[in-house]
């Protein structure tokens, strides 16, 4: 077990983000991730990254929020990445303990232990992880673990020109976020809210200030651990084991009885 030395995280204030993608570029550059193929149209505004995957550990979402009567419109941006959850679904299903918690309380994939079974991909409630084509193992944001070890901040936070990505101690960041939330609400942004406090998977080390409800950003309002239906699965297993055993034994017995009757009738008839 790793001793937690400090709780590092990021507070991403989406109200300050202007979608420049400097964070995406810095992430790719520092982590030596391969460049994406020629820019393509995804149908989502200026988003040509598409999604988080093995080669894209950070992804800026572009949301063109247009009212139903099309009179009002606005841009929403969200610089998405691994949330380094306190209750990490990926970590909980990993069959080799390749996904570990570091001394900075972040979630990290040990590539020497990962077997590439892909189970963590579907264990993550945010669709963050994917297999890296070069490594052949699960890949995601490390919160620049190597930089943290050297006392530096993650590359994305350093590159952000608007300080939308703030790095630091989670406790300090939460205080900062609460102040910001109060300010935004008093300034007329009634739906402004923190996403990722303790009621979301025990707290997200990378959490957000959203301008609107989470669903607008493609985030779940109440993400769950992958084990939410596991108990049901085990119960249905127990039920089916009994059911199939009983059906087999009864069929076996009924055939025997039928045979006996047939044999008796044959004997009586003869």
């Amino acid at each position: 077990m790793t001793q937690i030395e400090s709780k590092k995280g990021m507070f991403i204030d989406t109200t300050l983000c202007h979608g420049c993608k400097a964070c995406e570029v810095a992430c790719k550059s520092w982590n030596e991730l391969p460049a994406n193929s020629a820019p393509s149209l995804t149908g989502n505004s200026y988003d040509n990254t598409g999604k988080l995957d093995g080669e894209n550990w950070r992804h800026v979402k572009f949301i063109e929020d247009i009212s139903d009567d099309r009179k009002d419109s606005r841009w929403l941006f969200l610089s998405d990445s691994c949330k380094h959850c306190q209750l990490a679904g990926c970590m909980s299903v990993c069959p080799t303990n390749a996904i570990i918690r570091t001394e900075f309380d972040t979630v990290y994939i040990d590539h020497d232990t990962c077997i590439g079974c892909k189970y963590c991909i579907t264990g993550c409630p945010f669709g963050v992880i994917e297999i890296g084509h070069l490594s052949g193992t699960a890949e995601k944001c490390t919160l620049c673990y190597d930089r943290l070890q050297a006392g530096q901040q993650p590359a994305c936070a350093q590159a952000c020109p608007t300080d939308s990505i703030e790095f630091g101690e989670v406790e300090d960041l939460v205080t900062m976020a609460k102040k910001r939330e109060q300010y935004l609400q008093s300034a007329g942004y009634g739906k402004a809210q923190i996403y990722g406090d303790k009621n979301i998977l025990g707290g997200l080390n990378v959490f957000y200030m959203l301008e609107d409800k989470p669903e607008k950003y493609g985030l779940p309002s109440d993400p769950q651990m992958p084990q939410k239906t596991m108990v049901g699965g085990y119960w249905s297993s127990v039920f089916s084991l009994f059911a199939v055993g009983l059906v087999s034994l009864l069929s076996f017995r009924s055939y025997r009885e039928r045979k006996f009757k047939e044999e008796e009738e044959t004997t009586t008839g003869a």
Binding site: K118, G123, P220, G233, S237, G245, V247, S251
Partner: protein
């Protein structure tokens, strides 16, 4: 836009090989499960040939293990599932059905090996003097005073093994897999129906004279009953999927599910089994068993690939 369930969640994109894995594992477990249940609780009637189910299990488990390794991206590291080199300790994660499943497989292999030795002794095959104690232990475990306990434990592990991949996909975020807890149930019924069908085929082809006729027909009776339960379970499963049912009923997957699994793989074999004189008894047994196997394979294909291809 960014719809959480449709565009944010990801499919694990397990390779196609997992279908063979599920299919082979199901047969191995189903054959073993029914054999131990009948040997333990089948009463005092003729059970000739039932022990041969153990040959099937023992032959298929290594193939299952190999396929399990082949589906990994880092195949050479498969041992990490059982040994945590970083901490120098055994690896087990009770929250992970994949981790538990690996250990269930290990325990099941032990039961299968004991059954295999018992079958060899019963058939008088490969009797090595140096392994005499092992054969005797296997016979004692099957026929001694603790036989029912041993066989019941074997049934539990066979059942667990048959279903763990169902629990595994249920423990995920792919909406179509988590919408219902019935995937393990589906695997259990299909494991028995396919496993017993393979046992029937083995007995039909190794039947000298009519010594095994009784066992074959009793097993066939089991298949008939479980086919009915399997059809009912498929309907319950599709209904329980709710809004995600189209992941297994749309286009090609729907055709395969209703035509391939329910029609050709379950209803046609059931009708054939009910009218055995139509095509001749032996041919009916063989043909219907093969159809059941094809249906079992397609069922796994539809339930795994249908949802994965949707995301």
């Amino acid at each position: 836009m960014y719809n959480y369930e449709l565009t944010q969640l990801k499919s694990p994109d397990f390779p196609f090989i997992i279908i063979f894995d599920l299919f082979i594992g199901g047969i191995a477990a189903g054959a073993f499960l029914v054999a131990v249940l009948l040997l333990a609780f089948g009463g005092k009637i003729n059970k000739a040939g039932l022990h041969r189910a153990y040959y099937i299990t023992m032959a298929l488990l290594p193939v299952y293990g190999l396929l399990l390794i082949l589906k990994l991206e880092q195949k050479e590291r498969f041992v990490n599932v059982m040994w945590q080199a970083r901490e120098g300790s055994l690896m087990i994660n009770f929250q992970s059905p994949m981790s538990l499943g690996a250990w269930v497989l290990n325990v099941f292999i032990v039961f299968a090996a004991v059954g295999f030795l018992y079958a060899l002794r019963k058939d008088g095959m490969l009797q090595f003097a140096w392994a005499e104690k092992l054969y005797k232990s296997a016979v004692w475990l099957h026929e001694g005073p603790a036989a029912k306990v041993f066989l019941s434990l074997g049934a539990v592990f066979a059942g667990w093994f048959a279903m763990y991949l169902g629990v595994l996909v249920t423990t995920s975020h792919l909406p179509a897999w988590t919408a219902t807890p019935f995937i393990p149930t589906l695997w259990a019924f299909s494991a028995v129906v396919t496993g017993v069908s393979v046992v029937i085929l083995l007995l039909v082809f190794t039947n000298r004279g009519s010594k095994l006729d009784d066992s074959i027909h009793r097993l066939d009776n089991i298949v008939k009953s479980v086919i009915v339960a399997n059809i009912a379970m498929i309907i319950v499963f599709v209904l329980a999927l709710g809004q995600w049912s189209e992941t297994v009923t749309r286009g090609m997957y729907g055709a395969l599910l209703w035509g391939g699994v329910v029609g050709a793989g379950l209803i046609v074999p059931l009708l054939l089994k009910m009218k055995p004189k139509l095509l001749g008894q032996k041919f009916t047994l063989i043909f219907s068993s093969v159809l059941v196997l094809v249906g079992g394979f397609i069922l796994r294909y539809v339930v795994m690939m249908g949802p994965m291809s949707y995301w």
